[in-house]
């Protein structure tokens, strides 16, 4: 199978035989290919089709409204090339665990639902009044609104619950991190620009006595 399909609009630009690599089977089907299959399927009394090749699996299912839904899966591993570093990532990620977040850099609370960005009590004893400020999302930790600008807070800064103490950049969006408690910043746990996993401890705030 060559990769120049019937839908090619190359016009006069015919591939020179042997010049462009032939024998590159596409790893999945185009929308046009799928529509051709559906046209055939619509003449048959079936509501589901699973097509399995060495490159991909295509599952077509008729929905309640008569329309079709598709699920494509490409199981093959990427082919590594021309780089000093190996392409293959460490452990295979498939089948993927349902929704486990990546392990946080700091030990997260053992069980239960993920806490929000709200600060959580840290330790006992003399440090009982220390509250942790955690990352609400995984992302890049920034201490200032822009590079070169003064940081939102330093160790020793007084904060109120709604004081913005940092930014977490996730998916190109800047998300403010609030102190969540009134007190004094006693520790900043990450460097500016460092990546923070979800719920990673960003800062500790010494709570003001009530």
């Amino acid at each position: 199978m060559t990769s120049t399909g019937p839908g090619s609009s190359r016009g006069p630009a015919k591939p020179v035989p042997g010049a462009r690599t032939a024998a590159m089977a596409p790893a999945s089907l185009s929308a046009e290919d799928v529509q051709d299959i559906l046209r055939l399927l619509d003449t048959l009394p079936f509501d589901e089709l699973t097509l399995e090749t060495s490159h991909f699996t295509l599952r077509l299912q008729r929905a309640a409204d008569g329309g079709w839904a598709q699920e494509t899966h490409v199981p093959s591993r990427p082919v590594a090339t021309g780089s000093a570093a190996p392409v293959q990532p460490a452990p295979p990620t498939e089948p993927a665990p349902p929704t486990e977040p990546a392990p946080p850099t700091e030990p997260a609370p053992p069980t239960g639902p993920l806490p929000a960005a709200a600060p959580t009590p840290a330790g006992t004893g003399p440090e009982r009044d220390l509250r942790e400020v955690r990352a609400p999302l995984p992302g890049t930790f920034y201490r200032a609104p822009q590079p070169g600008a003064p940081p939102y807070v330093d160790v020793g800064s007084l904060v109120a619950p709604d004081t913005v103490v940092a930014i977490i950049e996730t998916m190109k969006l800047m998300n403010p991190v609030y102190a969540g408690t009134a007190g004094t910043v006693s520790e900043i746990c990450l460097d500016d620009g460092q990546f923070a996993e979800q719920d990673a401890v960003l800062m500790r705030v010494s709570e003001r006595a009530r």
């Binding site: 609009s9 596409p26 990427p78």
Partner: protein
């Protein structure tokens, strides 16, 4: 003739470019960061090469890494996709120096397009209407100019673009502080502190014209409407722009071609306009910016024209003259695209994670471009676009109806998505009527979130600030 193309991008556009390369018999080599080595595009590509760690600055934004990867992999060209280095003249020059073909405009054209004031000046020189405004050096100048052009005004970064570096100002009292902040942000984000002011049209429509040029001849491939925006980011796009006065449409096409001709533009590009329809038909339009790359929303143009725009980009990059004359471009029907993002639809909070299920609609008139499948990881380092659903119908009403049904068959598990927003829009009477302005989506979201059926005009809460970093 190109034989081996390095695709220097990720996500759905990487998969999209890989597909056309393979269809043309060109080997597609994907440049991937550590976060994307096992991604769907990496599996679809003929080969994958690592270009660096996950943070974009160390990989997809690293000119030296991209050029080194292309050379090491034996590529003869680089396709930059959109975003990242797509409009970076340094990459175009570095490719040139390394004997690689950059699939895009010339470095000089990228420089003009990237300097928003230079582009504005070129547009004005080509006879295009520009919004009242201009460069301002300090707060005093800004206030003088704002008084002249009238409120509200939009402060823009000269090095910005693509919806970044924008700041609306409604009163003189806010202006000095806003200008100062905008200057500081622009210096930090774009390495260029210059800002300019333009009159802010709050209710206009965003209409853009697709250009294709070979450096000698230039044609347009019709228009698109991208008025549905959130924080200046497009959410739904369509082609052609609905309910546009025919005279206004033709004038915008001509203006875009005139601008492209003046630049002797080579490659695929988009001229963005704000259009303000008059109450009694007609209307006015203003030049916004030129985007010197393939755009996210290019599939709606492909749907109505029947063209493969990536194939046209490659043909031009191979040094071929345009394969089409203007009268051979005959758009048919209507196409709408939804950007399906990994984000909570109400607040727009991003939702990285692992995709557990990815079911998309299929059938006549339906196209899905995606970079994910079940098991894919959605990393926190990049934008939230998961997939684009494009529905094409013989007219707009059938496209909207088809979109509504197609959305019902979309199912994405493992991360939050904005699918509910799209379903809500597809059922909205104002959207169904067509021709809404750029203020529509915020109003829609405000209504949807307060649960009131009628016009609460308050802005929805905005927990995420518009990104101001590169």
């Amino acid at each position: 003739m190109l034989h081996h193309v390095l695709v220097a991008n990720r996500g759905e556009i990487a998969a999209r470019v890989v597909r056309t390369c393979q269809r043309l018999g060109i080997e597609a080599i994907l440049a991937a960061s550590d976060a994307d080595l096992d991604s769907l595009p990496a599996r679809l590509a003929d080969r994958t090469t690592r270009i660096g760690p996950a943070p974009p600055a160390a990989s997809y934004l690293n000119v030296d890494a991209v050029v080194a990867a292309a050379t090491a992999a034996g590529a003869d060209a680089v396709h930059p996709g959109y975003g990242f280095l797509a409009e970076n003249p340094r990459l175009a020059r570095a490719c040139d120096a390394a004997g690689l073909v950059f699939i895009g405009p010339s470095a000089a054209q990228l420089e003009t397009a990237g300097d928003k004031l230079a582009a504005r000046a070129q547009a004005a020189a080509a006879g295009l209407p520009v919004l009242p405004g201009g460069e301002v050096g300090d707060a005093v100048e800004a206030e003088g100019l704002a008084r002249e052009i009238g409120w509200p005004v939009l402060i823009k970064a000269v090095g910005g673009g693509g919806g970044r570096g924008l700041r609306p100002v409604h009163t003189a009292a806010e202006l000095a502080a806003a200008a100062g902040q905008a200057t500081a942000e622009a210096r930090a984000a774009f390495g260029d502190p210059r800002i300019y002011l333009e009159r802010f049209l709050t209710r206009a429509r965003h209409v853009e014209v697709q250009l294709l040029g070979d450096g000698e001849r230039i044609i347009h491939l019709g228009d698109r409407d991208c008025s549905l925006q959130r924080r200046y980011q497009k959410v739904v796009e369509e082609a052609p722009a609905p309910r546009l006065d025919p005279g206004l449409r033709a004038a915008m096409h001509d203006a875009a071609v005139a601008f492209g001709s003046r630049l002797r533009y080579r490659g695929l590009g988009t001229v963005e306009f704000l259009a303000d329809s008059g109450a009694a038909g007609g209307g006015v339009f203003y030049f916004l910016e030129i985007n010197a790359r393939i755009q996210v929303e290019h599939p709606v143009t492909e749907a109505v024209t029947g063209l493969d725009l990536v194939a046209e980009q490659i043909a031009v990059a191979e040094g071929r003259p345009l394969r089409l004359a203007q009268d051979e471009v005959t758009p048919a029907g209507h196409a709408i695209e939804c950007r399906i993002n990994a984000e909570d639809w109400r607040e727009g909070v991003p939702s990285p994670g692992t995709i557990t299920r990815a079911v998309f609609p299929a059938g006549p008139g339906i196209r899905v471009d995606t970079g994910v499948q079940a098991g894919s990881v959605v990393p926190p380092h990049y934008d939230s676009l998961l997939a684009k659903l494009i529905v094409h119908g013989p007219d707009r009403a059938s496209a909207v109806g088809g979109l509504r049904r197609a959305l019902d068959r979309c199912e994405i598990g493992g991360v939050a998505t904005n699918l509910p927003l799209h379903s809500g829009l597809a059922s909205d009477p104002a959207f169904a009527a067509g021709g809404v302005g750029t203020d529509f989506l915020d109003l829609f979201l405000g209504r949807a979130m307060t649960g009131t059926g009628t016009g609460s005009a308050g802005s929805p809460p905005q927990p995420g600030m518009e990104t101001a970093r590169g």
